[in-house]
């Protein structure tokens, strides 16, 4: 992916860029909002990563300008402001995701990959997903593995659906909490892990190939590779 990083903290940006490059992405870094707007206008990026609090032109303004120009490139806000109201203004400005500082690089990477992928498959609505022998049908809300039906609770289905929709990508606990449960806080208890292990028991138990994998330090991934 080609990423545009607009961040005024030189050292933080350099480290983040290094991390993202190691993960196989191309990163352009600018420090100023104005430069960011012109770089973005030049085009060719898959995702924008924008710090919300920049000295001259704020992140929301940068994004509002791009959206006004019809630029639909997915954007992720990095912000020290993390309350509900702040997120809301961020999303109103046209952000597709919002990450509160301090964040972990793995979390950011997982989110960026999801955003970049979203761009690859635009409007055509997929109703069926398949990974390995596991299939789900979003319309009938059924899941099968190797043709055998799996009984899932509604929430388990949504959890599986989210993982399948981002098959092959790392999905963090926070992403699951935000997208499956719509909560924006981190419980101190490992609630998500337990939900995952229940789901895993239903889809992977009795099968030699384990599809739902735990990625240490990051989150989970459904994949039939490896």
């Amino acid at each position: 992916m080609r990423l545009l990083l607009i961040e005024d903290d030189v050292e933080a940006a350099a480290q983040l860029a290094k991390f993202l490059r190691n993960a196989g992405h191309v990163v352009d870094h600018v420090m100023d909002g104005g430069d960011g707007v012109s770089m973005a206008a030049a085009g060719g990026y898959d995702v924008y990563v924008i710090d919300r609090m920049l000295p001259t032109m704020g992140g929301t303004e940068i994004l509002t300008r791009r959206r006004d120009d019809g630029d639909e490139t997915p954007a992720l806000f990095l912000s020290a402001l993390g309350e509900v109201g702040d997120r809301l203004t961020g999303f109103k400005a046209g952000a597709d995701d919002y990450l509160v500082k301090p964040y972990s690089y793995e979390e950011l990477l997982a989110r960026l990959e999801v955003l970049g992928k979203r761009r690859g498959t635009p409007s055509n609505v997929t109703t069926r997903y398949a990974v390995g022998g596991l299939e789900i049908d979003v319309l009938t809300r059924t899941a099968r593995r190797d043709g055998r039906k799996i009984d899932l609770q509604p929430r388990e289905f949504r959890l599986l659906e989210y993982l399948m929709r981002h098959g092959g990508q790392v999905v963090t606990r926070t992403m699951l909490l935000e997208n499956v449960w719509e909560y924006h806080f981190d419980p101190q208890t490992n609630v998500i892990d337990v939900h995952i292990s229940r789901l895993r028991a239903k889809i992977d138990k009795g099968f030699e190939k384990k599809l739902l994998k735990t990625i240490r330090g990051a989150g989970y991934k459904i994949t039939d590779a490896g």
Partner: protein, 531 residues
């Protein structure tokens, strides 16, 4: 209002009411105060009212004055005209001799009447009570004129006591014996109008005095009002200045009169209380941040320092431990930041009607597997489904924190219940009860205070800020946080939460002898419940 004539006078003990009685104030300060006084809204209003009042009173007085005195004037003139016509008749029918006798008679009456009969062209005074014709008579011709004359003054006992100048009004008329005759007679008829003129003058003076007094009184009242208002506003200003200079504890003294300024002051004081609370909250938060972040930072530094000389395996271990510390610090930092922002009212977001039961159901759904794994049965105990005005996100977070707390501390318990209901007094309540060791009743107050004041014992790992955040969320929703007995001891089968708990008895010690395990119930009680 004499201005101090002596320019060297140091104090301005001006005679205007005495606003500047303090001798330490110099003249310019006094003048500034007076200038400010004259600029007050109250004084300007008084001025406008006074002006309108003075103009209307003036008009009224003028009208009244003119109406009264023009009638009196006309009456005098009519009497004189009547007199003249009577005299004319007498002259025409009976001749000058009779007229002269009649005038002599009338002149002797000693009333207000003044008569003169003069022979012309000889100028001899034939009859009358005036010694000489007034000069004004020559100019007036046939018309009325006013004049002054000297008269002997008479006291109550009719004794003569000198002379006095009096005013009179009269008319001159020429009688001819025949159109061809050379001789004629001048008849002068007048009335003394001194008493009337005196009355007129007195009236004028009186009206002017009344007007003057009215305006003076208005001015004084206006100044007094303005001054009292100004002094009260000065109290506000002084307080504001003191606060601006950093004394946040300063408050406006109320007069207890219950008027609009008192209400304003009350509201300002309430606002100041809130600001002070927020400020001290922020201070506590920053103190806590300092404390919570300094110790892990010190730990990290020591560890990394040691790791410099350590073996690769030890280095890895040090890095891992450091990473864990860093993550804990991030959690702590986020919690503190959230608390601070919620406390300041900034991070609350939109308030809407939310159903507590719905929030609880969703949370049960999220936590049930984790609770089961940890060996607890998670029970949803919904007695009624009250709605409250609040933030779904924050209330959910509060509930999650209470559940985290129960899962962490209800060691040895087997059940955790989320209770939703309405108190006897009609307040919505949302709580989490467990059957763990609980907190002994005497300690609950302290524990609660610690949440509220963000202080805590640091014996447990983790940020330990969960319940402080709950407390902040409670405050943001005008809800109160209560600690009480939780579920009955493990051997008991009944769930105790069906009993209504009002704010009063939530923290009351329900003695349960023979059972050291009383469990713990943390409960949010909202101000109202609609639903």
């Amino acid at each position: 209002m004499n201005a101090p004539s002596d320019k060297n006078e140091k104090t301005s003990r001006s005679k205007i009411g005495g606003w500047t009685r303090q001798p330490h104030r110099d003249k310019s300060a006094g003048r500034i105060f007076v200038t400010r006084l004259l600029r007050t809204t109250a004084f300007r209003y008084t001025g406008v009212f006074l002006l309108v009042f003075a103009v209307s009173v003036g008009m009224l007085a003028t009208l009244f004055y003119q109406a009264t005195f023009s009638v009196v004037d006309r009456q005098t003139d009519e009497i004189i005209d009547q007199d003249i016509s009577v005299l004319t008749e007498v002259f025409v029918s009976d001749g000058p001799g009779t007229l002269r006798r009649l005038i002599r008679e009338r002149a002797a009456w000693r009333d207000d009447g003044i008569y003169m009969m003069i022979g012309a062209p000889s100028g001899a005074l034939l009859a009358g009570n005036l010694t000489a014709l007034p000069l004004e008579a020559l100019r007036a011709g046939e018309g009325f004129f006013n004049f002054t004359y000297e008269r002997t003054k008479v006291d109550a006992a009719r004794r003569e006591v000198g002379e006095e100048t009096r005013q009179a009004r009269g008319k001159l008329r020429r009688f001819k014996v025949s159109p061809y005759a050379n001789t004629s007679f001048l008849v002068f008829v007048a009335r003394d109008i001194s008493s009337r003129e005196a009355l007129r003058q007195r009236s004028q003076e009186q009206l002017t005095r009344i007007g003057g007094i009215t305006i003076m009184l208005g001015l004084i009242i206006g100044l007094v009002f303005s001054r009292s208002l100004l002094m009260r506003v000065d109290v506000l200003n002084r307080t504001a200045r003191a606060i601006r200079d950093g004394d946040l504890s300063k408050r406006i003294t109320l007069r207890g009169s219950g008027d609009e300024l008192d209400h304003l002051s009350e509201n300002l004081n309430a606002m100041l209380d809130q600001i002070e609370r927020l400020m001290s909250g922020m201070r506590e938060v920053s103190d806590n941040i300092a404390h919570d972040l300094r110790s892990p930072l010190t730990r990290i530094r020591t560890r990394l320092n040691n790791a410099l000389q350590a073996s690769p395996a030890e280095k890895d271990e040090a890095l891992r431990a450091t990473l864990e510390d860093a993550e804990r610090m991030v959690t702590t930092f986020n919690s503190l930041l959230s608390i601070a922002r919620i406390e300041s009212g900034e991070g609350i977001g939109a308030m809407e009607m939310v159903n507590l039961a719905a929030i609880a159901e969703e949370m049960v759904e999220l936590y049930e597997p984790a609770a089961q794994d940890a060996g607890y049965a998670l029970i949803l105990d919904v007695l009624s489904a009250p709605n409250v005005r609040g933030s779904r996100a924050l209330i959910s977070q509060a509930l999650a924190n209470m559940l985290d707390n129960a899962l962490k501390y209800a060691v040895g318990g087997s059940r955790i219940a989320i209770c939703v209901g309405v108190t006897k007094t009609g307040c919505a309540k949302l709580g989490v009860a467990d059957d763990g060791p609980g907190i002994p009743p005497p300690d609950r107050e302290d524990v609660l205070k610690r949440f509220i004041r963000l202080e805590r014992s640091r014996t447990t790992t983790g940020s330990g800020l969960g319940l402080s955040l709950v407390s902040a969320i409670a405050r943001a929703h005008h809800a109160s946080l209560h600690l009480g007995d939780g579920l009955a001891a493990p051997q008991g089968l009944e769930i105790e939460t069906s009993a209504d708990v009002s704010p009063g008895d939530a923290s009351k010690d329900v003695a349960s002898p023979g059972s050291a395990r009383r469990g713990l119930k943390i409960q949010l009680i909202f101000e109202t419940a609609n639903g």
